[in-house]
């Protein structure tokens, strides 16, 4: 049995007069799934969220929430009828209401209301702060109140717009963990927007990468990282270098050395192979084919940028204790622990 869909976006397009928007975006979200919309600023991820919430109407395309059409040709359900919970980037807590009043805002006025408010507040661990006003709370607490307020009416889907961008780096990691736990406890379906790939990978069961209004790829974090569908995705989720593949006596070779067998069966013109820094190995050698141009100490490891004699640059990761000076000549070779992905014209090809 397949899990029913909580959200179905089909061929959504929305253009704005000043530029931006999305075109022909299709995305399905299954019930209980947490999906990250990942992309650079202006890629249309927030627009997608606002279309689902009903704050904007699509130019074309259709949206179904829990099997019910909410936006389609000639039909538009206003936001208050969609059963969508929204956590805003700046939380948008009502400054004139207390924490409890904020959480109760979307609940029908009946005897069960207070119990529900207490229930949700204790889930986010803020029961003791129920009579505070928003300005008396810390950023992380405001975030959790916003989450509680959105969850209280038991929405069909929860939308989070850059939920951690207003927190400083230290707090962000902690709040991320708390939010992940709350989402798991409540079992809610959620779509959240972020420009931080680490955050997307940590929080999302699946990640949808957007660029210039188009969906580039949707898949599990592992899929996105190891099998990017486009060069944009490959670069956006981590350091990636593309090396031209040529044939040397029938075997595929790059400027950074031969490609280990099992990766490429058939050679084509214009083929490139994508390598991550952990796929590239090097050692100091006076007669190597490149040299170190810069290094970035990252704690557990050091990231080196290598300039090959052919003119291409490639990044390589090396465990920390050893360190090499910039300018040193090195021998470079490929040492992938998995099957490499090949690209042609910016798109992944299966060979």
């Amino acid at each position: 049995m397949t899990t029913p869909l909580a959200l179905q976006c089909a061929h959504l397009s929305k253009r704005f007069p000043g530029g931006g928007g999305i075109s022909d975006l299709s995305l399905d979200v299954r019930q209980g799934e947490v999906v990250a919309l990942l992309g650079p600023s202006g890629c249309g991820k927030t627009t997608t969220l606002r279309l689902v919430a009903g704050f904007e109407a699509p130019d074309s395309g259709a949206i179904d929430i829990a099997g019910r059409p909410v936006a389609a040709h000639n039909a538009f359900l206003p936001p208050e009828k969609r059963k969508v919970g929204m956590v805003f980037q700046d939380y948008a807590l009502f400054p004139h209401l207390t924490v409890a009043q904020n959480v109760a805002f979307g609940l029908p006025n009946n005897p069960r209301r207070d119990a529900r408010v207490r229930n949700v507040l204790s889930m986010v661990g803020l029961l003791l702060l129920h009579s505070r006003y928003p300005h008396q709370l810390s950023g992380g607490e405001q975030q959790r109140v916003a989450l509680a307020r959105a969850l209280a009416p038991e929405p069909a889907i929860l939308l989070l717009d850059e939920p951690f961008s207003n927190l400083d780096a230290k707090l962000r990691q902690q709040v991320r963990e708390e939010v992940k736990e709350i989402l798991e406890t409540s079992g809610v379906t959620a779509v959240f927007v972020t420009h931080d790939q680490e955050e997307a990978f940590y929080m999302g069961h699946r990640v949808a990468v957007l660029n210039q209004g188009r969906l580039e790829q949707a898949g599990t974090p592992e899929d996105i990282y190891h099998h990017p569908a486009t060069a944009f995705v490959a670069r956006f989720v981590g350091v990636a270098d593309f090396l031209a593949v040529v044939s040397q006596s029938g075997a595929p070779v790059t400027d950074a050395g031969p490609i280990p067998p099992g990766n490429i069966e058939a050679l084509e013109d214009g083929l490139e192979v994508m390598v991550r820094p952990d796929d590239v190995a090097f050692e100091p050698s006076e007669n190597g084919q490149g040299r170190i141009i810069s290094c970035r100490f990252q704690g557990a490891s050091t990231l080196y940028r290598l300039l090959l004699d052919s003119g291409e640059t490639v990044h390589a990761l090396s465990a920390s204790p050893r360190s090499y000076p910039a300018g040193a000549r090195v021998r470079v070779w490929l040492q992938p622990g998995h099957r490499l992905v090949c690209f042609k014209g910016g798109h992944a090809v299966r060979l």
Binding site: P79, F94, Q142, N166
Partner: protein, 520 residues
């Protein structure tokens, strides 16, 4: 520790503006039982009741009108939005006595509307507009910008995600407006409503010409007719207490929750509400307000002035009054802006208990009716400064007390926006305190000081009761000219003076509006 060159003038100014009012209370209390007897007669209660009725009605009507206009111009796809925005603040150039003159000319017993209706349908009587209805109409149409401007600011600065949050929590557009937007507008409504209430309480022009006996008009009648001016002083003291009560009320309505954005999110405009078929009624509504507050007044004044010229009526002393108005307004602007500088500097650069006390003292004129200031100066001058009584310096001094708050406010704002590091940079480059002030501080403050001067000029141009009471014998300004001619039903004369007054006032108003528009 502030330099004495700053402290001394500030002390003097603060003392000078508070002295007359202090003397008013001394005089009232000194009158003893007699004053109390007079005060507790029925008539005082009637005056109080009438004043309260007018203040409440005008404030409520202004808030309703302003809320509609502010919402239409900030939150909807109303066509010509920028145009309406500028136009809607312009009624501030029209003084209330000009408004009253227009109501008398257009809607009065033998006015233009009745004349037209008589020719068409033989109507020989219209409902009487004198008294409460006339005063309510005039004061509402002229004072709603005071509450519309803060409302517009609050509406356009409000974080749109607050309303979106309410929508996504299941509230309809109307429920969202009632439960989120309106509560968030409360501070703007309270502060704007307070200004309208104070404006109505202080108004002399409209109530005197509409013959509606509120405090100001009763005080003037008492002052003009009675030999003993104790009752006038006592009534003034009561009026001051009422004004202070309104000020206190406002500070209490602010409540417990603070109204600022909970965090600095991306500044985003809210999506305009599509008016759909409501577009035309909305446009018609704006057009009617525009017609009533600006288009009709200007055309009626022009019509009467031209008709007066065409029928060879005499306009005695029109140019003399214009020159006098310009003279006192320019003098007041200069004197008041200069006087505001030491106080503003002291309170911004050397904030401590004394400087904030001095700053507060200069706010005495804010919210106090012009007639009270004028009377307290009369009492004070008659006793201690007989040589100054009914001279030009005394009149300018009265304007100073009345309009110093406006100038201190403008100077403070421009000083607060000026980064003190700039002055320190000047000092570190080898310039002395005075040289820095001349070459850095004052040039950077200039736009703010100019705005303050424009505001004082505008307010002085429009001021009536103090001018009426304190002007030197035979000294006439456009304001007194309009009022006298209106009371004596010389409509062509009144219209000609009023037209010049409005046109001259629109110059400083244009400076203020353009500055406000550009800074957005």
């Amino acid at each position: 520790m502030p330099p004495p060159a700053l402290l001394l003038p500030a002390l003097l100014i603060a003392a000078a503006v508070s002295l007359p009012l202090v003397y008013l209370f001394i005089r009232t209390l000194g009158a003893g039982d007699e004053a109390w007897d007079l005060l507790f007669r029925m008539r005082t209660l009637q005056i109080l009741g009438r004043t309260a009725l007018l203040v409440f009605a005008v404030t409520a009507a202004s808030i309703a009108l302003a809320l509609t206009l502010a919402w239409l111009t900030t939150r909807t796809d109303l066509p010509l939005c920028g145009f309406w925005t500028i136009i809607m603040s312009l009624p501030l150039v029209i003084p209330s006595y000009v408004g009253a003159l227009l109501v008398i000319i257009a809607l009065g017993p033998h006015g233009m509307l009745q004349g037209a209706l008589e020719n068409l349908f033989g109507v020989d009587r219209l409902p009487d507009l004198y008294g409460f209805p006339g005063a309510l109409l005039i004061l509402t149409l002229l004072s709603y910008p005071y509450v519309m401007l803060p409302m517009r600011a609050a509406l356009s600065q409000m974080d749109p995600s607050l309303e979106e949050a309410s929508r996504s929590l299941g509230m309809s557009r109307w429920a969202t407006f009632r439960r989120v937007t309106l509560p968030l507008l409360r501070p703007a409504i309270a502060s704007g409503g307070l200004l309208v209430a104070l404006y109505t309480l202080s108004d002399f022009g409209a109530v005197s010409l509409m013959r509606y006996q509120t405090f100001t008009w009763a005080i003037y009648l008492q002052y003009e007719s009675a030999f003993d001016r104790t009752l006038a002083a006592a009534l003034s003291s009561v009026l001051v207490i009422v004004a202070i009560a309104i000020l206190l009320l406002e500070s209490r309505t602010r409540g417990k929750s603070r109204y600022y954005k909970s965090s600095a999110g991306a500044a985003r405009k809210s999506t305009p509400v599509p008016l759909g078929s409501w577009k035309w009624p909305a446009l018609a509504f704006c057009a009617i307000v525009l017609a009533l507050t600006l288009a009709l007044p200007l055309s009626i004044l022009t019509y009467w002035a031209v008709r007066g010229i065409a029928t060879d009526q005499s306009f005695p002393n029109l140019w003399g009054a214009t020159a006098n108005s310009l003279k006192v307004s320019a003098l007041a602007a200069l004197v008041v802006v200069l006087a505001s500088l030491p106080v503003a500097f002291l309170s911004v650069r050397f904030p401590n208990r004394l400087s904030s006390l001095l700053e507060r003292a200069t706010y005495i004129g804010f919210g106090l009716p012009g007639i009270v200031i004028a009377l307290s100066l009369v009492f004070f001058g008659a006793k201690y400064a007989t040589s100054l009584y009914q001279t030009l310096p005394m009149l300018i001094f009265a304007y100073g007390i009345l309009f110093l708050p406006a100038a201190v406010g403008a100077a403070r704002v421009s000083l607060l926006q000026l980064n003190p590091r700039l002055e320190e940079a000047g000092r570190s480059l080898g310039k002395g305190g005075l040289a820095v002030m001349r070459s850095i501080t004052l040039p950077l403050m200039r736009p703010g000081l100019l705005a303050g001067a424009a505001l004082v000029f505008l307010l002085t141009m429009k001021e009536l009761p103090a001018t009426l009471i304190l002007s030197p014998i035979g000294f006439r300004t456009l304001a007194t000219q309009v009022w006298d001619a209106s009371s004596e039903a010389f409509f062509a004369r009144a219209a000609a003076s009023a037209l010049i007054l409005v046109l001259v006032s629109s110059i400083p108003m244009a400076i203020l509006v353009l500055r406000d528009y550009r800074s957005r």
